[in-house]
């Protein structure tokens, strides 16, 4: 007769408690690690320079009274609101172009191309790995030929070159995770392929689409090399170029305003991620697994 190992109830409870404490410590560490940059930016944005540079002062406290002068410089001494608007416009347009292009491309590669689809998908993804530092010079020639220099449209044209490959590859994986039976059932009922995509596939692909939106948006707002190369008038700049250009003067960094700019620019992205966190993770993992 098999011996039943009996574990005292008290031990079970203790080990659960230890497990929870360890989990809490791990989570707390990661929360601190992730939140620390934002906390640092927020503190520095309102700290006086004499407080910031004094190494005897606690860097996490306001040892001198906080100040609004850095934010005043940011919003009134630079074109920061204009840069935010430019960045938002470019990012929105790039997201739309990416969606319009990557969705049919990803669907086609997932459904219509058989074994070649996977190879093409990988090839597409590899183009994403080509760094902008290699491409900015030939692309600047193209932008000049198209008379788009110093215009935001140059960025709207170029940014999809790195958002579309990655998002197509991502959506390809995501569409593969959707059973083809759903579309086949729709087509049996009279839908065209396009109709099946629109009425059946897309509604169940919201997680993947949101992932594409968030990724394309984030990549667009953080891009620097192309924005620096193609645009020089201050009023046409995006945040990623305008902030360092106006707030890094020679070897002098306006840290308070720089941190303020970084903080304000990251707020919309943080909100976007928070609102769609679950779906974003679902989209990422579904695409990655396939």
């Amino acid at each position: 007769m098999a011996q039943v190992l009996s574990v005292p109830v008290r031990s079970l409870g203790a080990s659960r408690l230890v497990g929870r404490i360890l989990l809490a410590i791990t989570v707390a560490w990661f929360v601190f690690f992730e939140a620390f940059p934002f906390a640092w930016m927020a503190i520095t944005a309102f700290k006086q320079n004499s407080d910031l540079y004094n190494i005897k002062h606690n860097p996490f406290l306001f040892n001198d009274p906080p100040t609004l002068e850095h934010m005043q410089l940011l919003f009134q001494g630079t074109l920061f609101p204009r840069w935010l608007a430019n960045t938002g416009l470019v990012a929105t347009l790039v997201v739309l172009i990416t969606l319009v292009t990557a969705v049919p491309a990803g669907y086609s590669l997932a459904r219509l191309t058989g074994g070649w689809g996977r190879r093409v998908g990988i090839g597409l993804f590899l183009t994403y790995l080509v760094p902008p530092s290699l491409l900015f010079i030939p692309l600047s020639r193209l932008v000049a030929i198209l008379h788009l220099q110093d215009r935001l449209w140059s960025l709207v044209l170029v940014y999809p070159s790195f958002t579309i490959p990655f998002c197509t590859w991502l959506l390809m994986g995501f569409f593969k995770s959707i059973p083809p039976d759903l579309e086949e059932a729709a087509m049996v009922d009279g839908c065209t392929r396009l109709g099946a995509l629109r009425h059946v596939v897309l509604p169940v692909s919201v997680a993947g689409l949101l992932t594409v939106v968030i990724f394309a948006f984030t990549l667009s707002i953080q891009e620097f090399v192309y924005a620096l190369t193609f645009i020089s008038p201050s009023a046409q700049k995006t945040v990623s170029v305008g902030v360092p250009t106006d707030l890094i003067r020679g070897d002098v960094y306006y840290w308070g305003s720089l941190m303020g700019g970084a903080l304000v620019a990251s707020i919309p992205v943080a909100i976007l991620y928070s609102l769609f966190m679950d779906r974003f993770i679902a989209g990422l993992t579904a695409g990655a697994l396939k």
Binding site: N49, S50, F136, S140, V143, L228, T229, T245, G250
Partner: protein, 462 residues
């Protein structure tokens, strides 16, 4: 067909209209007449004025950019019926943006570099026609001339109107405590050992950044060596260079913090302003920042000349060499306008001197005569507020103890490439970190520099 006979004419997509032949012929003639006038109606002309575009760095003094962008260029533009557009860029991005404009064959009419742009010489307009008359009128200090003129091609590939000296900043209170002045590299090492023990090490970068390029060259020159000689031959591999490398190794180990290996252009500013170092080489941006941000701490930081070396009197690199270039590929009218602006700006450069709060010094001597420069330095308001009217007095002789990148020769494409690839700081870093012996580090540097010089010589530019 008589006038009353009509035909169906398609007037637009799927829209037809009954017209007579006369109506048809009249409409056709009117359209042809309108089309023939189009070449004479330059739709851009009445909306377009002449335009001059300038790209410059974001000046360390924000007020300078406000003055240049909103006052000087606007006034000049009004006088000449030209719309002047000034764009700004961080100094670190100047070479990359220039390369992009060259590749695109499209860019700004005037491009301001902050180090000698000799490597762009094939793409820049020859400015001898404006440079020589200006030099004849005002005179030019030699270090500026050697930073924008190629004696091989006899071409002014740019025009320098100003430059910035690279003095030392030091913690006078700490140096007084150890009983030294930072007047020689020997003093820097001896006092540096004591200062490091006090928690105030020497702060001279040995990294891939512009300050390290300047500082390490100061040491090289004052130890009696250089990367090239006056004939632009590579001469770096010699016993004086080895001695300089040994010195820097000792300085790094005994008087500095290892973080100097990872410094960027702003690191020494932050370290001095944060009270972490006792000496560094830098333009007066450190002193000016302290005057603004930390007036109680500012009097402790004073300005001094670059140190003397064992084989040469004090010699410091220029910290910034402003050189305007005009791209060759621009249309003739734009080049002409750009040259006109440069000449007018040179003739009015005294305004820029004061707008820069003494950060920029004149390349064309007569644009701000030496006595005026001296007076400005000795009557500086901020220095007087601190009770030290002679704070910037050491800069009066800056043209005497400053020299160009490429000393004792001219700046050239090869020197620019050596500069941009940070070979000199890397040479010192390899020995300082014991990755190589001083002798091997110097040989390594020579092996890197020689092919670069050979390449530029083969191009006929050296």
């Amino acid at each position: 067909m008589d006038e009353r006979t009509r035909e169906w004419v398609e007037v637009s997509d799927r829209r037809w209209r009954l017209v007579t032949r006369r109506q048809l012929l009249t409409a056709g003639a009117a359209g042809a007449a309108a089309a023939s006038l189009l070449p004479y109606v330059n739709l851009r002309a009445w909306a377009q004025t002449r335009r001059l575009t300038i790209l410059q760095w974001s000046h360390f003094i924000p007020a300078y950019d406000k003055w240049f962008d909103n006052e000087y260029t606007k006034q000049w533009g009004k006088q000449h019926d030209v719309e002047v557009v000034v764009d700004h860029i961080t100094f670190a991005q100047i070479p990359a943006r220039a390369a992009a404009e060259v590749a695109a064959r499209s860019g700004h009419d005037l491009y301001q570099h902050i180090s000698p742009p000799a490597n762009f010489e094939p793409e820049t307009e020859d400015l001898t026609d404006i440079a020589e008359p200006l030099i004849k009128k005002y005179g030019m200090i030699e270090l500026s001339r050697r930073s924008c003129y190629n004696p091989k091609t006899k071409k002014f590939y740019g025009l320098s109107l100003s430059w910035t000296p690279d003095p030392a900043h030091y913690r006078k209170d700490a140096w007084d405590e150890v009983g030294y002045t930072p007047d020689s590299w020997d003093n820097i090492l001896v006092a540096g050992r004591k200062l490091k023990k006090m928690g105030l090490p020497i702060g001279e970068g040995i990294s891939n950044d512009i300050d390290s390029n300047m500082g390490m060259r100061d040491i090289l020159w004052t130890f009696g060596s250089s990367e090239q000689n006056e004939a632009h031959e590579v001469v770096i591999n010699n016993k004086n260079t080895v001695e300089a490398v040994k010195y820097v190794r000792a300085l790094f180990k005994e008087a500095m913090d290892p973080e100097v290996l990872a410094w960027d252009a702003s690191s020494n500013n932050r370290a001095m302003e944060g009270g972490k170092i006792s000496w560094t080489l830098n333009a007066i941006s450190i002193a000016r920042s302290l005057e603004r941000n930390n007036p109680s701490f500012s009097p402790k930081v004073q300005v001094w000349a670059p140190p003397r070396g064992p084989r040469r009197a004090r010699l410091g690199s220029e910290h910034v060499m402003y050189v305007y270039t005009i791209w060759k590929f621009l249309p003739p009218e734009r080049k002409r306008l750009a040259k006109q602006f440069l000449v007018d700006f040179a003739n009015n450069w005294e305004k820029a001197f004061y707008a820069s709060e003494l950060y920029e010094f004149p390349s064309l001597i007569g644009t701000v005569p030496p006595e005026k420069v001296k007076q400005a330095l000795l009557t500086d308001a901020a220095a007087h507020r601190e009770g030290n009217p002679h704070k910037y007095a050491v800069l009066v002789d800056a043209p005497k103890w400053s020299t160009n990148v490429g000393h004792p020769g001219f700046a050239n494409g090869a020197v620019s490439e050596v500069f941009d690839t940070f070979i000199i700081p890397q040479m010192f870093a390899l020995a300082a970190t014991d990755k190589m012996s001083p002798e091997d580090a110097v040989k390594w540097a020579e092996s890197q520099i020689k092919p670069i010089f050979a390449k530029w010589r083969a191009r006929g530019l050296l």
